[in-house]
Symmetry: D2
Subunit: 280 residues, 4 copies
Amino acid sequence: MAKLIHDSYGKSKVRLTKVTRNGDRHEIREMSVDIALQGDFERCYTHGDNASILPTDTMKNTVYALARDHPLTSIESFAMTLSEHFLKTVAHCTSSSIDISEVPWQRISVGGKPHDHSFIGGSNERRITRVVRSRDDVMIESGIDHMLVLKTTRSGFVGYIKDQFTTLKPTTDRIFATSVKALWQYNTADADWNANFNDIREVMIAVFAGQDSLAVQQTLYVMGAGALAACDAISEITLTMPNQHRLLVNLEPFGMDNPNEIFVPTDEPHGLIRGTVSRE
Amino acid sequence: MAKLIHDSYGKSKVRLTKVTRNGDRHEIREMSVDIALQGDFERCYTHGDNASILPTDTMKNTVYALARDHPLTSIESFAMTLSEHFLKTVAHCTSSSIDISEVPWQRISVGGKPHDHSFIGGSNERRITRVVRSRDDVMIESGIDHMLVLKTTRSGFVGYIKDQFTTLKPTTDRIFATSVKALWQYNTADADWNANFNDIREVMIAVFAGQDSLAVQQTLYVMGAGALAACDAISEITLTMPNQHRLLVNLEPFGMDNPNEIFVPTDEPHGLIRGTVSRE
Amino acid sequence: MAKLIHDSYGKSKVRLTKVTRNGDRHEIREMSVDIALQGDFERCYTHGDNASILPTDTMKNTVYALARDHPLTSIESFAMTLSEHFLKTVAHCTSSSIDISEVPWQRISVGGKPHDHSFIGGSNERRITRVVRSRDDVMIESGIDHMLVLKTTRSGFVGYIKDQFTTLKPTTDRIFATSVKALWQYNTADADWNANFNDIREVMIAVFAGQDSLAVQQTLYVMGAGALAACDAISEITLTMPNQHRLLVNLEPFGMDNPNEIFVPTDEPHGLIRGTVSRE
Amino acid sequence: MAKLIHDSYGKSKVRLTKVTRNGDRHEIREMSVDIALQGDFERCYTHGDNASILPTDTMKNTVYALARDHPLTSIESFAMTLSEHFLKTVAHCTSSSIDISEVPWQRISVGGKPHDHSFIGGSNERRITRVVRSRDDVMIESGIDHMLVLKTTRSGFVGYIKDQFTTLKPTTDRIFATSVKALWQYNTADADWNANFNDIREVMIAVFAGQDSLAVQQTLYVMGAGALAACDAISEITLTMPNQHRLLVNLEPFGMDNPNEIFVPTDEPHGLIRGTVSRE
């Protein structure tokens, strides 16, 4: 016989655009929301009894209804509101998880002046948050996904283990490109979400640019340490950094040198480095 | 000051095709391999000291070199070999994870006869495995990803919670479509991987087709229970099933009825149901 | 001053699922429809005058409404109906184009018996059609997209031009993998669309499997010639075949040979071969 | 019997990164190159005779070799060089087409100062060019792909045709979002490619922001007209603009109004508007 030992259900990819009209000056926030509930939903699995089930369609409606009255100045505050709502509405729900991923829109400049109601988008970078709330506790993580950075020098990789399958040559000067995913844990439920996000993002980019990198691992560590130093409101940060290799092309067969100028960007295979950094 | 509290590194998306030539009759296996190592790699993060680092480029080479001598009759056995190799090679590695995703190729039939060396592919379905090995232990999970199934009737959804945001109408007859991800845990390191995979896949499809579904949750549960009943070598199974909605089109504005015939398939938003089923 | 010299507008990616219920035995067709109209719509572009514009939202509704009464036994016949409708409805429309791409669903077998109402999908292969209708004429093209085929031998590439940038080695035995796009032109508006599709697909696969390929170009040509020979109702066929390279891995640095066994599949760069074959 | 009536072959997705080092100040250009040749290659198709075939692998090598000596200050000038090379190398080639798509990298600012060698990317927007060269002629087109713009007001759609399938309500205030593809034809082979690109892009964005749009078609037309007015070196421009709908959510069932604040962004279906604008 079979026993249900874990379960969760919800709605994913609820997309939302909210326009806030301060007179002629408009603000726009666009996002995708994922909702998941845990709790006593077992009879639905084992008996097809839906009496304990808030339909995922209703979850979708709830996102739009609550967005109407919410200022939506940050995805964190909206995720807090949503997570609270579902715990309140569904008595037998023990924990709600809200994931929000924000699509960036930048105000267009026309003749050097920021436009009132026109925006340009197109970046893959996302501001993200995850709020997990139980009856006693709330955990707030925020971060960045797909932040694509590259440096053309001040990155090397030497002194590593060699075995019978080693063909890689050591280098003291290579291109370093990566798509950063960062997720930091807040130690408070009442932070200045937008300012913190901007501070952490800025310091991570500056550290990436400024460091002489001896390994992707080392860069990951100093970026994480930099984020912790820049923001008291966070307790730890997890970084995931694929090594998006630019391979030096061998031009010798054509009688040419290649003084670190011509590279092939490749998507696969790629190195994948992860690390979590916390305060000492 | 900052402290590294978790780390892992490796190579992802190492793609491999192996052709086995039994005379004129060829076999093909194609896959993508992800490798991750955990262990004492801290000085690389904190000091840029690579003395403990086996380069991810070498991991890639290792996949090809070991594939040469390995029969590769199943992705599980190859993942076992890889996970063992890295623990043996890297003395300070405490745990290695190998994920393999197999790309399916079917033998072409010509005039009703299976062809010796020609194959047709194109399915998004993947056979997957994950082997996590420490110095004392090995954990083997296998599964299916992106198994897309649909039934045109014998699925309903009634009797759920109603609140102020409910607009969904109950239905006793809807289309049920989902892209199944299943991951089961083996209780042995020496199973007939291919036969088990085929048995579990077949029973899950048969259960999906045969059940009168009262909820996606219920179908998930009986598919999991079916898998456990069909294969003694597994101890538990986790299923993830998005509800890929087909929405009934309202044709009334055009003076038409719609007796469950015309639907819009939508990708987002979608329900997302997860559950883990184990033996009692 | 500026002049509009070409224009077209319409609705893309109108997704539709139609279930036909012959008693307990259900049929399913799923597709995505693109509509484009050409004609006298200039004042909309130059003056923002929409008096000549049938909204693209109405085009979407039309797809669902017409699908209700249409048997939808083939995408060709449905595209014919749609193309006719828009010419009739919009008096100043000179030409309508309908593109349909069908998502394949296979009936599930349970215990060797085809199931009445359960289906399995997941293939990227698509059956496609394009109907372009003017006031005097109709052009019907049909085809296949993303038909992924591979052979492990009987493919070579020798005797090509060598210049100062050549590094490729000739080979008489390589893997040949390609994702075929075929588009054939019908010489009639009243063919057995389904039978023709099946015949052409089958002969192209058989030719691919059976031929000793000296070049992708040559295989393309014999597949096209085979299609023309198999189906009197078509006048020409255009094939597009990327060469999805499987590169032989050099195992010599590891002291190993590689007798055409271990390959890396790569997506980019890829060869891209196109050709149109007609009757003499 | 079958006859080859059109053919073309080449290499696609040749990815290239070039770093130019002006002392400490580095420049980076990253791109993907597609090459296609037309000419007398028929015996390869009909007889598998490769004597006339420059391998696509050699085309790839050529991109890297020529990039070494080329300043690569614009994709247009590099495409010109490549197109010339292949016509010169392959005597029986009648026409070569080079398509280049450039991946954007922005210099990182640290403390308000542009960094010497660190860059941020991640935008889907692409600068593109196509150079088609025959023995007598060269055609140069350039453009932008995936330029994502949105305005929250000053867009309406009224006064359109109504028929039995119309359900759309007229609106004088909607969100207008689109992903612009623009391709303009140069009337010279010797323009300031970078300045022209920047001018045309800037004017199109300004027109989009500034116009009171009565239809996507009208906006397309004025953006095209604006480009022609801004740049004497181009003779015509083709714009493709999907209407990436933001649908107003009906909040009435929840007892709420929705004063143009809460929208659902949708990817499909979408309107698709095309137009070519030339000088009078």
